[in-house]
């Protein structure tokens, strides 16, 4: 059975004018958000995006943008409590069992 998370939340942005059609994004995306079309890449399934940032980091044309972050409640709580940016603090034992 397929997992489905909240709709219409991803901050993923594609600037199609910059896309050079190399296809790297389709290679690195763990949820097949992109597909290659005649004119370059297109966002096929935005709601599957988990904002990991792999596509942004590997886009040689700088055509992609996303606000990267960890989808981890424990990290967000820690961020709220300490007033810092939510980060995966798994190396200390105070946060979730994520990593």
């Amino acid at each position: 059975m397929k997992h489905r998370y909240l709709k219409n939340v991803s901050t993923l942005q594609l600037n199609a004018d910059k896309c050079i059609g190399c296809g790297r994004c389709t290679e690195v995306c763990p949820h097949q958000v992109f597909e290659m079309q005649d004119r370059g890449c297109a966002v096929r399934a935005r709601d599957l995006c988990m904002e990991c940032g792999a596509c942004v980091k590997n886009c040689p044309a700088g055509a992609l943008e996303v606000k990267p972050g960890v989808g981890c409640a424990a990290a967000i709580i820690t961020g709220w409590l300490t007033g810092s940016e939510p980060a995966c603090g798994c190396s200390n034992d105070s946060s979730g069992g994520c990593c």
Binding site: Y5, E27, Q32, M50, E51, K57, P68, G71, S91, G97
Partner: protein, 377 residues
Amino acid sequence: MEINKDRLSKKTLKAIKLRALNLKTGKNDAKSLITPYSTKDDWVIGEIDTPVGLVPQVSTRLSTRDRWGGIKARWGVNRMDYKINPGLYAVGNPKADSHVLVTANYKLTFDMLRKELSGMNLWVLVLDTKGINVWCATGKGTFGTRELVSRLKRTRLNEIISHHTIILPQLGAPGVSAHQVHKQSGFRIVYGPVRAADISQFISSGMKATQEMRQVTFTAYDRLVLTPMELVQAIKPSIILFGILFILNLVGIGPFGLVDFYAYLGALVMGCVITPLMLPWIPGRAFSFKGWLTGLIWALAVNIINGFPVMPVYSTLRAIAYILVLPSVSAFYAMNFTGSSTYTSFSGVLKEMKTAVPAMAVTVTAGILLMIINSFV
């Protein structure tokens, strides 16, 4: 090519021990070891000669000790110090034209990888991720462009192999910029499959990944192996809570007893174990909502076990308190499972928390107040 022998001959063992001793005493024999290892590392089964030095050759079979170490890590025992030395390793008898795989130095990650490589001849470049798995290390920046480029330089891989292609796990992509690595080191990155089990097929098909190989899954088994850690993480706040309730009991305003104890533990198990396991089948999308639903079922079960609605053993006030508190406890632990899942986004988790956290705070406070009022009625 011939499958490499997984057992150590006495001669090799002696040579390894001698080298380890030399390393310790600073005495250098003719060929130096590129990646140091301990004589206790029984997964090293030999050494491969290269123009740069000797490379430890690793077994593709997991020993009982390897497996036991993995089980302990899953339960959080020694989990943050379960690592191997970063550097270059060999699987089988790799040559200058053999493929190179890149991975993290978390021992569990390394073991999961090498057990899939039996019969193959490859180089494995292990990055220093401070003992964290590939995916999580990308988030911390340790599995990243900088570490990869510097590790390539330090191992002098370009002098060992005759080509310029390295295979990275696809889940390393959030930390690595392939075009930057190419610019800085001359090595070309190919992203391999998500799962180590697919590597053999990926390589034999000429480094072509199918869509299935590129897709991150989250099977019931994937979720099951994560639940021990969820339980371990939940124990600490729970002990603090028990402490507070115990003190309330002592000063006479707390009516907390055995039923409350198992009611809470049940809600914890609902949130930490049952919700993760049943994840795709529980209605709703938000993890907190899924956890709230399973917690609600548990709260109703607790009341029914205690005679509701026919012969209740406690007051209706207390029954209502359970219905307020227990689903929220379960929802909280289920919400924390977002960090272990493979498909939640930061924006999504933030959105669900903006509703869920205030709702939890209100219901739990109301429930506890009801319990306290109930003890005076």
